[in-house]
Symmetry: C2
């Protein structure tokens, strides 16, 4: 199935599928480390992305309590929830808007033989 990947480059910040997935993971797991693990992302990189996101917006997207080995837990702020919701809205609108030309492109692709002899 055809998928779109869309990155939004603001003047000083970027928002794309990786950051959106990380925010979603933090919301679901309550942990930056666990959210990163779910995406096969190192703890260091997950933290770096969170710090980048927290610096780029008027208020932080992720609230976290630094803890010991177990970690202090993390959650989305109201701003984080809203940014995630808006990104999902962007994706849904884009997918709907481009469905026509994307279907035309699909018909122009080489047809693979799916029978595979079976």
């Amino acid at each position: 199935m055809t998928k779109l990947k869309l990155r939004i480059y603001f003047d000083e910040a970027m928002l794309g599928p990786g950051k959106a997935e990380l925010l979603e993971g933090i919301r679901d797991t309550g942990s930056i480390a666990a959210a990163g693990r779910r995406m096969g992302m190192s703890y260091k990189r997950a933290w770096m992305l969170v710090e980048e996101m927290n610096a780029g917006w008027q208020s932080p997207l992720v609230a976290s309590a630094r803890g010991g080995p177990g970690g202090g837990g993390a959650q989305l702020t109201a701003t984080g929830d809203e940014v995630l919701r808006l990104y999902r809205d962007v994706m849904a609108r884009a997918e709907e808007a481009v469905a026509g030309p994307v279907a035309t492109l699909e018909r122009m692709l080489k047809v693979r033989d799916m029978s595979d002899g079976k």
Copy 2:
């Protein structure tokens, strides 16, 4: 100014801003090497992308005559023209469709001090 980057992942092929720009460059310059140079892309990589594009669609997107040092020249086929046109259409539709939520996101970004003391 905010910019969108959109990649379309079909089952067996991908179309994104790099390939679109390369197609545009070939159309404008009549040369795969010159189109690649314009993007700071190596000759080898430009050729690789053209070969990938020519293999993925029902007919090739780029017609080229392999030549000597000067190169044999290259041009878009009718299919190449159409794929490029459809990708530009996808971009225009996506940009229009997401303008609302993107403007909301822009207002949530940290405001940079542009005065710079000057």
